[in-house]
Symmetry: C2
Subunit: 304 residues, 2 copies
């Protein structure tokens, strides 16, 4: 069976690993968010694609839940000594990837080509495909102005209240090669428990991807990133409150109107109602077994 | 007094540190070789300028005698895992500098500007100036072909016999701002005990620098990099034998015809004759005190 997962990094990547663990080799295509991408110290950084890669490849720092295990931080410290920016946390091992990718991109290869090559080298038997090879950047409008996603999220510790989100470049962006085909050939489409505004939003803001999802002939199931109305990590609950008027399953489902056939929610969020059927289970991914279980629940709902 | 030192990295940088230690703050200008510069993993690397910076700033790994103390190597290892080149040894701390410099160069700043800023940040009260802001690359002609300096030196462990040296871009290169002025205003000019072909050669191959040296009104003294006809490190002795017919002071002085007024040589190289006066002393720089002593000998010869 062919499964497509739309995902950001973090919890989304761990959900994708759950799916990777339960489907057969070569059956999973992860479409990764690139709205968080940034140029930092002259390098192209794709945090969500990297989280997906590191997580599926077993390179993730499982304690920190981002970046690579066994990481050191000497290059960034030195860059700071020489006057370089240090607000974005790039570890030394992580940097090795950014150097290789940035050089490949400058030589004219596409982000999708580079990503496929990295996945191949990591020995991962899933595909990780960026939503688009085109420039797509998430911007956050706060009461004091418009900043890039990373500036708001990392630079300011996502403290400023979010008024709106903009996906710069999305309207003009084409899906990366293989994205639409993967959706068309999928037996199930899953939206990972990532932030609907910041992780899934930029992906489905690409018109070709949105259209492909709207025309799906198979079921699409989202997993809610909220547990008991709160985000496991990150600023989602505050964003949902402000922009959707609440933090219940209804508001999460409302982010995906027309795109999903069911929403998997946590037991802590019932009783609940929404415009799509709700599937209730435990969605906390405390370990690999829990990741697999949440993946199975989502797959079962998608194949119902 | 104003002192100008022309230098490569390594032993040249340690000689420059000796001069730095014995002259007053702000009195030293080091003109650094850029013929060894390379683009590696998409970064601009200036090994000799960096050796000079690290050495004068007290950041040098004194055991290895290149790169930074307390270095780690994780970024390069990771780059290798992802298919990047690893033949040039870039440490993580070192990388921080290359990132900052590469970004600055891409934003349109000159190598001299960036270098001056790095020197300022390191708290070094000498000037380190690249010979030129223009592209100048040393190539080595071997019996099997023409390769870049670093490819030959690091990539092939400088094993291939050298037939000739080419300074690509030198004829068209202009001295970096301040280089000619520093030579004109100097009370003494010193050529560090660097490789005449590979370190000093590229500098004096810049026509404006060569002319300024030829027109000097003060003395210019070179320190021979040979001790007992052998190089302390590196491939110089073999190169001198092949290209100049011997490894005596005469051949070293022959590399600097018209440019120097005296050559400081080691006691192990006497008796000797050359076309310029020879100054005999111990030139092995085993420690900081020895670096200062060799600097004093050279300065004394230049002020004679």
């Amino acid at each position: 069976m062919n499964v497509v997962v739309l995902s950001g990094g973090g919890g989304g990547a761990r959900f994708a690993r759950g799916v990777y663990d339960v489907v057969g080799p070569g059956e999973l295509t992860v479409i990764g968010n690139v709205g968080d991408d940034l140029e930092f110290l002259g390098l192209h950084v794709s945090p969500d694609l990297d989280s997906l890669l590191y997580t599926l490849a077993g390179l993730l720092d499982e304690g920190r839940r981002w970046g690579r295990a066994g990481e050191t931080w000497n290059a960034l410290a030195a860059a700071g000594e020489w006057g370089g920016e240090t607000w974005f946390r790039l570890g030394d091992r992580d940097l090795g990837l950014h150097l290789v990718r940035s050089e490949a991109l400058r030589s004219g290869r596409s982000l999708a080509e580079v990503t496929a090559e990295l996945v191949r080298r990591a020995g991962v038997s899933a595909r990780i495909v960026p939503a688009t090879n085109d420039r797509l950047r998430t911007h956050v409008l706060t009461e004091t102005g418009r900043v890039s996603f990373q500036e708001w999220f990392v630079g300011r510790g996502h403290e400023d209240e979010v008024v709106a989100i903009e996906y710069e470049g999305a309207e003009a962006a084409s899906p990366a090669p293989g994205v639409v085909e993967a959706i068309e050939e999928a037996d199930a489409v899953l939206l990972a428990p990532s932030n609907p505004f910041l992780s899934i939003g930029p992906i489905v803001a690409v018109p070709g991807i949105r259209t492909a999802l709207e025309r799906r002939t198979v079921r699409c199931v989202a997993v809610s990133p909220l547990i008991g109305g709160a985000a496991v990590t990150g600023p989602l609950a505050r964003m949902l409150s402000r922009m959707s008027g609440g933090t219940a399953p209804r508001q999460v489902a409302g982010c995906y109107t027309g795109l999903i056939d069911a929403l998997v929610i946590d037991e802590a969020d019932v009783p609940a109602e929404a415009d799509v059927p709700l599937v209730v289970d435990s969605t906390l991914m405390a370990d690999r077994a829990a990741e697999r279980r949440v993946a199975e629940v989502a797959l079962e709902a998608a194949c119902a």
